[in-house]
């Protein structure tokens, strides 16, 4: 039983498996290393569950003890839901949560089920009424009142949200009453049997006394006639028969007594077992109501627990602890309070837009209060939103396993709208880092291809796939490679045409393809290599110029771009960059242009003075310095 109790708890708490999506964030994102969810805040007690809390401390020894121990041991501040370790701390006990697909499926089913809020308040009103009537303060409740409460159970069972559990309690109570009836009948029979025994005893005694008297009389008469006396034997058989009859009556009485006790014990065990079963099944409200009925049906010593002692002692680790049915009620009340607080937190978080937090709290609350009416009436619209979030989180987990960063990125970007409290930023940063690493490897593969190094291509592609298996750039690159294998001659022809037109930029754009196509052609490969190097240099200078431009050093930027013109004056990308920057540095550009024109026209004197004038505008100009160095020695022909 002990194992069963905990295993059931472990099962219903295995809802942590739901959080695998978020759990992925902790693992893959490495941002959240070990997240423990704090316990739900404690809210004020109310309604049905407050009944036992109001039990008079002086009147009911068991109840008061249970309450005190509950307060002492139930340190709710230590409740936690450790997703990382798969453990749950509830009421000071640690449960192994594990990964239960079944519970996960139940949670999904719960989220997807439409809510029937059919007169939920009326239903709760009936249960509150029953609980109030049966509360511990009404200790001497007449049977009629208990019977009225019992009949209300059938009313409660009419509601869908009840799930027929009230009917179960009603049947249980009825069974107890029926067994009590059987007990009463057995008691009556026992009384009749007792009368029969007494009668048999009396008859046996009467007969024995008569025989003693007769025997004495005969002995006295014989002593005068005959010296030799002889013992009489008449009547002995009759006494023996009567004694036998007495023994039989006694045995029958003992048998009936035993049967009656067995009937009573059976009824108590059956009731207590059902209350325990409610508790184990997390039907805490039913456990509460059933406990209350029990208290009014059975009294005195029968309040002591005959089942579930071991399980309860685990929750109340006190050596001399005497478990009673009230203990069940305490546990149920405490659990229901947690559920109520949990749902309050869920609603508050959801209404404030923190849907991720709301889903987390709902998962925890579901773990404990799966069958609680409060969960059953949670608005369907909210459940739909949380269900989608939950599905996306589950998808994140599987996507992270397959390292599909692209899809994950889309989901996480959507999370920023639907669940702004979800820690997506760190995850996104990690995803983008992985994507960039993969892209860098693809670039390296392309460069290796451009240099005709197939082994390096393989290594780089393998590394790219390791970081991001579904990187579209890898697929593109592979497609290009496949295409190249069949169209090498076409690429060579195209290369020659572009080279003739000095369209280096276009050659560089498809350098890996050309490299593979021309890997057997050393001369063209060398040309390609030079072009790639040139374009890389220009790209680097353009990038530096952009950086200087951002720092408002526009003349520096121009100087770099002007220097890049030496590498390839016809590069369209460079021309574009120069054209974009020229208006910003027009005075300098104008003077430098004049200097270069004069230098080209071999008017070195004029060129020198123009360079000097340009240098006045931008003293650090490398172009001016180099121009001056070039033309100064040619100042005079």
């Amino acid at each position: 039983m002990k194992r069963t109790f905990f295993s059931i708890f472990a099962a219903f708490l295995s809802v942590s498996a739901f959080s695998q999506g978020a759990h992925w964030i902790q693992q893959q994102g490495a941002a959240v290393q070990s997240q423990t969810v704090p316990a739900a805040p404690q809210a004020a007690d109310s309604g049905v569950s407050s009944v036992s809390a109001k039990a008079p401390a002086g009147g009911f020894f068991e109840s008061a003890t249970g309450e005190r121990m509950a307060d002492k041991i139930f340190d709710t501040e230590k409740d936690s839901f450790d997703l990382e370790d798969g453990t749950l701390n509830w009421k000071g006990k640690t449960f192994n949560i594990g990964n239960s697909r079944m519970v996960r499926a139940r949670f999904e089913r719960y989220l997807s089920m439409p809510v029937d809020t059919q007169n939920f308040n009326k239903y709760q009103g009936i249960l509150s009424e029953i609980a109030a009537r049966l509360s511990a303060s009404n200790d001497n409740l007449p049977d009629e009142a208990v019977r009225a409460c019992w009949s209300r159970l059938f009313d409660a069972a009419e509601y869908d949200v009840d799930g027929q559990s009230s009917l179960t309690i009603a049947n249980l109570v009825y069974l107890a009453w029926r067994m009590r009836g059987e007990y009463d009948v057995a008691k009556m029979e026992e009384r009749e049997q007792m009368a029969a025994v007494k009668e048999a005893q009396f008859k046996a005694k009467e007969r024995a006394e008569f025989m003693e008297y007769a025997s004495d009389k005969i002995a006295k008469m014989n002593s005068s006639k005959n010296a030799s006396t002889r013992k009489r034997t008449e009547g002995t058989a009759d006494i023996a028969y009567r004694v036998q009859d007495l023994q039989k009556e006694v045995v029958e009485l003992a048998t009936k007594n035993t049967f009656r006790e067995a009937t009573a014990t059976k009824a108590v065990l059956q009731f207590q077992s059902q209350v325990l079963a409610f508790l184990i099944e997390r039907k805490f409200q039913q456990a509460q109501i059933a406990s209350m009925f029990y208290r009014h049906i059975y009294r005195g010593n029968v309040q002591e627990m005959k089942v579930g002692n071991d399980q309860l002692k685990d929750l109340f680790p006190v050596s001399n602890f005497v478990a009673t049915v009230d203990t069940f009620e305490n546990v149920a009340t405490e659990a229901r309070k947690d559920v109520r607080d949990g749902m309050a937190a869920v609603n508050a978080l959801y209404d404030s837009g923190e849907t991720y937090g709301a889903l987390q709290r709902l998962m925890e609350t579901f773990a404990i209060g799966e069958f609680d009416p409060l969960l059953a009436v949670f608005p369907y619209e909210k459940k739909k939103v949380l269900h989608k979030l939950y599905r996306d989180m589950s998808a994140l987990k599987s996507l992270s396993d397959s390292r599909d960063w692209g899809t994950m990125e889309k989901i996480l970007e959507e999370f920023e709208k639907v669940a702004p409290d979800f820690p997506s930023k760190e995850a996104l940063a990690k995803i983008r880092a992985a994507q960039r690493i993969s892209e860098m490897h693809v670039m390296a593969a392309k460069q290796a291809a451009a240099l005709g190094k197939p082994d390096d291509v393989k290594k780089s592609l393998a590394a790219a796939m390791e970081a991001w298996p579904l990187n579209p750039s890898i697929a593109d690159f592979n497609a290009d490679l496949v295409g190249l294998a069949s169209g090498a001659s076409k690429y060579i022809q195209k290369f020659d045409e572009l080279l003739a037109r000095k369209n280096y930029r276009e050659i560089a754009a498809e350098a890996p393809e050309y490299a593979i196509a021309m890997r057997q052609d050393a001369e063209r490969s060398e040309s390609l290599k030079k072009i790639v190097v040139k374009m890389s240099q220009i790209d680097s200078l353009i990038a530096q110029a952009e950086e200087f431009e951002k720092q408002n050093n526009k003349y520096f930027a121009w100087d770099l771009l002007d220097g890049a013109r030496i590498i390839d004056p016809q590069d369209p990308k460079l021309a574009l960059a120069l054209a974009r920057l020229a208006p910003e540095v027009s005075d300098y550009v104008k003077m430098l242009g004049r200097a270069k024109n004069a230098e080209d026209a071999k008017d070195f004197a004029a060129a020198l003075n123009y360079y000097l004038a340009a240098q006045e505008i931008f003293p650090a100009s490398r172009s001016c310095r180099l121009g001056i160095e070039r033309v100064a020695p040619k100042y005079v022909k």
Partner: protein
């Protein structure tokens, strides 16, 4: 009878006449050099060759030597009174101890290719 005031008048007149003579000398000297106009930097930058053959006066500070052309002279950058910077050639034949950061009053000539050649120079 000789006037007693005559020597006094003579004494006053002598310095006045001396000053007048000195001013006249200065005036005439300046007029003689005004025949050479100041170097027109803006015109030169607009079209250096258009000034070929012209001689100008130039007051400028030597900044640095840009180059030395064998058998021709030194190309130096100068900065005129309006802070314009340009290059001039100080020919080897010009016997002058040109020093940077010194101001010189120069006569310059614009050559056929727009080069500015110093004809004479003196510190001022």
């Amino acid at each position: 009878m000789r006037s007693k005031t005559t020597p006094i008048i003579i004494a006053i007149m002598i310095p006045l006449i001396s000053v007048a003579v000195a001013l006249a000398l200065v005036y005439f000297k300046k007029s003689a050099s005004d025949g050479v106009s100041a170097f027109p930097y803006s015109d030169y930058m607009a079209s250096p060759k258009n000034l070929s053959g012209n001689v100008y006066s130039l007051k400028a500070e030597l900044e640095m030597q840009l180059s030395r052309i064998p058998s021709k002279g030194r190309v130096v950058s100068v900065r005129d009174e309006k802070r314009h910077k340009f290059a001039v050639l100080i020919p080897d034949g010009l016997d002058v101890n040109a020093q940077t950061k010194q101001r010189y009053d120069m006569d310059v000539k614009v050559g056929s290719d727009g080069e500015i050649i110093v004809c004479s120079m003196r510190k001022y």
